[in-house]
């Protein structure tokens, strides 16, 4: 081989000249140009969070309309067709356009800061994952807003989704939109996996990374393996509908249950993917407010991975009523009961951290600690449905609706709001108002439980799910009214959060570098951080770099003030997978228009496919190809090619 280009990186302390040079290398251009081409993970992270919250609000409004329709028997606010689109779009929005993206947003923002790096491994891919998310979200909502929204629930069973029973564009919007969105999830997951193993700060061995990194990493590996299942299922559905294939229709030799298997092989790991990163945020944030490290770090990290691995083996529990043979049902029932155990590890670790620490009750703490209770309520209702004969009574009733809302709101929304209170100061340099935060918390907590706790009883009294109305003879009128009132109270709580955010952006108290006196690397830089994150690359000696010395350990200290400068271009350090020993200098890409161009090309492509305008689809494909070639054109500044001669 030709002589490799080698460098011994300069090591020094920070200086004003050094920072000025870093700013000029890393800062995004102002104005529209910078807005469209930025690859800064912090910008992308905030965009993800803001967009996800917009979808949360939209999904929430859909929920309130549903609750108005169901507040009493035989109401007529919505026709059945409208209702079906409302409940399906609500599910799709919350599960695909809010729950995963908001966690991607926090992960994108925080990972390089937590890991002591200057950016994610693939900055342009990062930008692409956001632009596709936005484009796919708009694509899906174009359906809903034109009366062609998904209308067969978020899990969209065939044959009802097939053309014979669902002739309009509804299913085509959903199918193509989901394939489109799947690209965002896949490239985002690829980015997280490579970043986790290649771009940590020196010394940050695998057993020193924050639990939130374990959570997102686990979810990302899982997504790489299972998103293709659902993308394939939706593609096959689109083919059945538009090209007369017979994947799912029995008349042509197809198998309706093939849809369910493919969907749930994806769907079950997906629901763990949308809670494990949030559980990680609790495992990282809660101990700060207990003034001690989390109890059982290794067990919690292992439990995270174990939950996901077991999560691949339980998908049939969504299909217990489909007539499968008893032996198979028994296996999946057993696995679904066993999977409770790694979750129990996390719950007891958190309780122990509170009991063995010194809890300080801030708003963030309230959200992080209340989620433990909500998690357990959601967990036990899931445990009840794991038993096949009992599930034959519980499934498809409001009991399952109660379960899924406790796990999704309890293990995703509450931690996310806690994470917002915790990391908003870092992102904006301002604190969220604590007084307003208390009102925010209590109204959300009371509203949520008022809405969903009685729902368990509604389900036990036999109310089926996905009904646009119900008769008076079921005996569910009062319970439904209570749920509807609770849902409006909960929404008011969420509104208070948004008001707090708006107000604090303008006039919140200044945050400073480390308002919570927290231990991890993101609190070592300014609030908000400079575009390059770390002026010098830190060397890490423990899980709690900023608490060393106070925890009474004998080990080495992390070096935060002195380290590699890496300022000969946009650079960060590449390190080995397990021990994080430095092994190469990574050249990072500048801001680029290739990601947004590719997303635009894909939007044209998918629109052409939806409307069956093949010429338009081909134009889209050509734009995509050109954007990809521009993207991958080897650049010397990234050392993808030799230097040009002469």
């Amino acid at each position: 081989m030709m002589q490799p280009e080698l460098r011994t990186p300069a090591v020094d302390v920070d200086s004003i000249a050094h920072e000025a040079r870093l700013y000029s290398l890393w800062e995004t251009a102002p104005g529209l140009k910078g807005f469209l081409s930025s690859v800064d993970h912090k910008t992308i992270g905030i965009r993800y969070i803001v967009t996800a919250f917009v979808f949360l609000a939209l999904g929430g409004v859909e929920a309130l309309v549903i609750r108005l329709q169901l507040a009493g028997p035989n109401l007529t606010l919505l026709t059945p067709s409208e209702y079906n689109q409302f409940f399906s779009t609500h599910g799709m929005t919350m599960i695909f356009l809010y729950a995963a993206p908001v966690l991607s947003g926090f992960s994108n923002y925080l990972w390089p800061l937590l890991l002591g790096s200057r950016d994610m491994a693939f900055p342009r891919l990062n930008a692409l994952s956001y632009w596709i998310y936005l484009a796919a979200g708009l694509f899906l909502y174009a359906g809903f807003l034109t009366g062609n929204g998904p209308n067969d629930g978020w899990f969209n069973y065939v044959p009802y989704a097939s053309r014979d029973f669902n002739p309009g564009l509804n299913q085509d919007f959903y199918a193509l939109g989901m394939v489109f969105l799947g690209v965002s999830t896949t490239v985002g997951s690829a980015n997280f996996v490579v970043t986790a193993f290649r771009t940590r700060a020196p010394g940050m061995s695998i057993n020193r990374i924050p639990i939130m990194v374990w959570g997102t990493l686990t979810a990302s590996v899982a997504n790489l393996l299972v998103v293709p299942a659902v993308s394939l299922a939706f593609f096959m559905l689109w083919m059945d509908r538009q090209f007369g294939t017979h994947f799912f229709d029995p008349a042509g030799g197809g198998q309706p249950l093939l849809w369910q298997h493919l969907f749930w092989i994806f769907g079950h790991p997906w629901v763990y993917a949308i809670v494990l990163p949030a559980m990680g945020m609790v495992s990282d944030g809660l101990p700060v407010f207990c003034r001690r490290p989390v109890v059982g770090y290794s067990l919690v990290a292992l439990a995270t991975v174990a939950t996901m691995i077991l999560g691949f083996g339980v998908w049939v529990h969504h299909m217990f009523a489909t007539g499968l043979p008893g032996l198979g049902l028994s296996f999946f029932s057993g696995a679904s009961i066993v999977i409770v155990l790694p979750s129990a590890v996390a719950v007891f670790a958190w309780l122990a951290t509170i009991w063995l620490g010194r809890p300080v009750i801030t708003t963030a703490f309230l959200f992080f600690s209340s989620m433990i209770l909500l998690f357990v309520i959601g967990g036990v209702s899931g445990f009840m449905t794991a038993s096949v004969p009992v599930d034959w009574q519980l499934t498809d009733t409001y009991f399952v609706v109660a379960h899924l809302h406790y796990v999704l709101i309890g293990i995703n929304v509450f931690p996310v709001v806690g994470a917002l209170y915790f990391w908003f100061p870092k992102m904006t340099g301002r604190m969220l108002d604590e007084k307003l935060g208390r009102w925010n918390f209590w109204i959300m907590f009371i509203g949520f439980n008022l809405a969903f706790l009685p729902m368990h009883l509604t389900g036990l009294l036999g109310m089926p799910r996905r009904v646009y109305t119900y008769a008076a003879n079921g005996g569910w009128g009062t319970l439904n009214l209570i749920t509807s009132i609770g849902s409006f109270l909960f929404a008011a709580g969420v509104l208070l959060l948004l008001i707090n955010v708006m107000k604090s952006l303008k006039s919140g108290a200044a945050a400073g570098r480390n308002p919570w006196d927290a231990p991890t690397l993101e609190w070592a830089v300014s609030s908000p951080p400079p575009p390059y994150n770390f002026a010098v690359i830190p060397t890490v000696a423990s899980r709690h770099p900023l608490w060393e010395g106070r925890l009474g350990t004998e080990g080495d200290r992390s070096s935060l003030d002195r380290g590699m400068l890496l300022v000969e271009g946009k650079e960060t350090i590449g390190t080995s997978g397990l021990d994080a020993d430095p092994d190469m200098v990574l050249k990072m890409s500048k801001d680029s228009f290739a990601p947004i161009s590719l997303a635009a090309g894909m939007s044209v492509l998918f629109t052409g496919l939806l409307l069956k305008l093949w010429a338009l689809a081909i134009v889209g494909a050509v734009i995509c190809t050109m954007a990809l070639i521009a993207w991958f054109w080897p650049l010397h500044e990234l050392r993808e090619r030799e230097a040009p001669h002469g």
Binding site: T79, P80, S81, D152, P159, Y160, F165, Q255, P256, L257, R292, P293, V295, G296, A321, T322, G323, G326, L329, S333, I337, V338, V340, A344, F348, A349, L351, A352, T353, I354, W355, L356, R358, P359, V360, I361, S369, L373, F383, M384, P389, V390, D391, W392, Q393, D396, T397, L460, L461, G462, P464, R465, R466, V467, G474, G475, P515, D517, R550, T553
Partner: protein
């Protein structure tokens, strides 16, 4: 949990198959409630340990400590949790074995097909003229295990009679088996429980359990074809039924012979119409015939444009279909 107030509850039961599951359901529910209360108390007590003064001084003034290792919390917690889980696992397998398989010698075998948005029920017999179909109301003899063969007619539906049996889907392309048995006479409400389109909400059915003698009388009555009309009004009504309703419905013994909608041969023997949506009385019947889209929007029965005279003729004939 009174099944009269809440006819679709399954916290009580009225038949062998559902009864085997009720204790397990209560066990899981009780364990769940206890776990939630214990965790809530631990959480509450833990949070209450906080010192109010701490909030005023700022985080950096509150010392950080490594604290106890705490692994025992996790190991004890997980081990204690494992006990009810193992019990649940074993009890589940035993219950599943008891209820899954259809009975070896069912006293009655029915073929039920889920359709948008009604239930087609077929009673078999050794001699073909005795085979009959009805809709939405299933009669069974008390104390006899009944095998239900479930067929998928169009999309996936799910057959559920909470007081008697758990859910089993009707899936096009395969035959699923369910079974049920009623301990005592009564009317047991059933409901479709797999989202199937616009009128999934209005797809109920009833299982009527009656003593053997009564069931036999019902069955032999159902086997009869429709009687010839007696009055001129009813005769005019028959002509309308054959010409209009017969496009989708069947009345055995007449020229109305289509099979895409419920069999009406013994319409008046049923307590409800439109899959449990309306009580079967003349007012509701007329309202349904004229404007089904108002009652079940999206249903596959179009509104019938009939004059007042035609309606009363039709009604006169239909009322003879006992």
């Amino acid at each position: 949990m009174n099944a009269h107030l809440w006819p679709l509850t399954y916290l009580t039961s009225a038949g062998a198959r559902a009864a085997s599951v009720v204790p397990l359901t209560w066990y899981l529910l009780t364990v769940s409630i206890i776990v939630v209360l214990v965790i809530a108390m631990l959480l509450w007590a833990g949070v209450r340990r906080s010192r109010p003064h701490d909030l005023n001084v700022g985080m950096s003034a509150i010392p950080v400590e490594r604290g106890d290792n705490g692994i025992r919390w996790i190991s004890v917690g997980v081990m204690v949790s494992a006990v009810p889980l193992v019990v649940a696992l074993v009890w589940t397998m035993l219950t599943l074995a008891a209820v899954a398989g259809p009975p070896a010698h069912p006293g009655l075998v029915l073929d039920v097909t889920g359709r948008q948005w009604w239930w087609e029920v077929r009673y078999n017999a050794d001699s073909p003229p005795d085979i009959f179909e009805t809709a939405n109301e299933i009669h069974i003899p008390v104390g006899v295990p009944v095998l239900v063969r479930l067929h998928g007619g169009d999309v996936i539906h799910s057959f559920w009679v909470p007081q008697l049996t758990g859910k089993t889907d009707t899936i096009p392309g395969q035959v699923n088996l369910s079974w049920l048995e009623a301990d005592k006479p009564g009317r047991y409400l059933g409901q479709c429980t797999e989202f199937c389109g616009f009128q999934h909400a209005h797809m109920q059915f009833e299982v009527v359990a009656e003593p053997r003698a009564q069931f036999d009388r019902w069955e032999s009555q159902q086997r009869q074809s429709a009687p010839a009309p007696v009055t001129p009004q009813a005769t005019r009504g028959l002509a309308l039924v054959e010409y209009r309703c017969g496009l989708c419905h069947r009345v055995r013994g007449t020229d109305a012979g289509a099979i895409s909608a419920p069999d009406l041969t013994h319409l008046m023997s049923r307590r409800t119409i439109a899959a449990g949506t309306l009580i079967n009385n003349p007012g509701n019947l007329v309202g349904w015939i004229q404007n089904p889209q108002n009652i079940k929007p999206g249903s596959l029965m179009p509104n019938q444009v009939l004059s007042a005279a035609q309606l009363s003729d039709t009604l006169a004939y239909l009322e003879s279909l006992k």
